[in-house]
Amino acid sequence: MAQEPFALVITDVRMPRMNGMELLAAIKQRDPDVEVLLLTGYPDVQTAVSAIKQGAFDYLAKPFAERDLMERVAKAIAHRRMKDRNEGLKERLRPGAAGRRLVHGSPAFAQVVATIERTARTDASVLLLGESGTGKELLAHHLHDSSARAGRPFVPVDCASIPSELFESELFGHVKGAFTGAANHRLGLFQLAEGGTLFLDELGELPVPFQAKLLRALQERSVRPVGGGEQLPIDVRIVAATNRNLQKEVDEGRFRADLFYRLDVVRIAVPPLRERREDVDLLAALFVQRFGSPLGIGGLLPEVGAALRAHDWPGNVRQLRNVIERACALGQPPLLRLEDLPPELGAAPGPSAESGPAAGDEPPRGTFAELKARHIAAMESSYLEALLKKHRGNVTHCSEEAGMARSAFQKLMQKHGIRSSDFRE
């Protein structure tokens, strides 16, 4: 254990010499980042809650199906990786750390960050308002990292991606046999966020019937898993975000006023990128470093910087990130050129890396496998965005047109960091 870096420990609860809960405590004391999945032949909700409170990722009743085991293992490993990424993110956001890689050079965004950090000292609910791609999740994470809850989980929930009939089970959990297919107890996201922060992204997508249940859970500070008889106490800070005008949704009866006021304790408006153009250069440099450095691309030509600053960025930072990632995939070292940008940013149509080098051009650098992978990645990303734009973010329609399973389409979207909500009107 001390010499081998395990990402995950799967342990039985009942063992003769040291039981699983003791092992869990010992592991967490040595390395809090190691995920622990408990196996038990005697499942009950209290044990599960107790295990989660002590830092277990999840638990599974024995005997278990291979599929259930592998689903939890994949989630635990993904969670571990997310924590690793968060650590890197924290390092990048820390003032003065990692070579001054702060990306809020503009007064507008600096003010938002200052408000976030002041609010982090309290446990007040926070409502982040802003267009898609402005960095609301990053700010929510920064708030969590700056708060006393930093050592506990930060659990993001994309309300737009959960089918309305599954909200209650996803957030509150369910007990074994609660409904067809509920083969085991399952903890909800509230329980997974115990002691930490639950980030409700795309709050405006919350189905009306579930809004009352969420309000009750927040008021009573407890949840009742689907099919369960007892209320389980929760200690979770709520940070919510939306790109919709929630006050209008309230006025028009699509969002409960009492829930809105419950969540709207500290309201923070996140400015769109076009209102903080000073940040474009900093962000572009950050993304070039992230995506270009491994390919030998160290910066961009001055005319590229000018084109980036002149653009209005309707998709905000996420769009800028995607444009730079795509440009790095298609461009050549050492600097990004205007023709590496998509046409809407002012690049003149002509021979591009997508159509291959023009006659007489030097072949692009890299092995065939590297170049092929870059082209495929660029094609996939561009294809997904075009389909999502056409179908206004409707993943089902996109996957049908693509001739792919919906889950495969979503996996591809995840791979490229593309979110359907960015394409909805």
Binding site: V9, G20, L69, V73
Partner: protein
């Protein structure tokens, strides 16, 4: 994601073995490793 190291702790050797087998089949590096059938 695959290739991650996973430690399996169970006092029932058969269960530990089958868990390790599932993990290895999915591409994870299980410890202790599943026994391979001798040829």
């Amino acid at each position: 994601m695959k290739g991650e190291r996973v430690l399996v702790v169970d006092d029932e050797p058969d269960l530990a073995e089958s868990t390790a087998y599932f993990l290895e089949r999915a591409g994870y590096a299980a410890t202790p490793p599943a026994r391979r059938p001798s040829s």
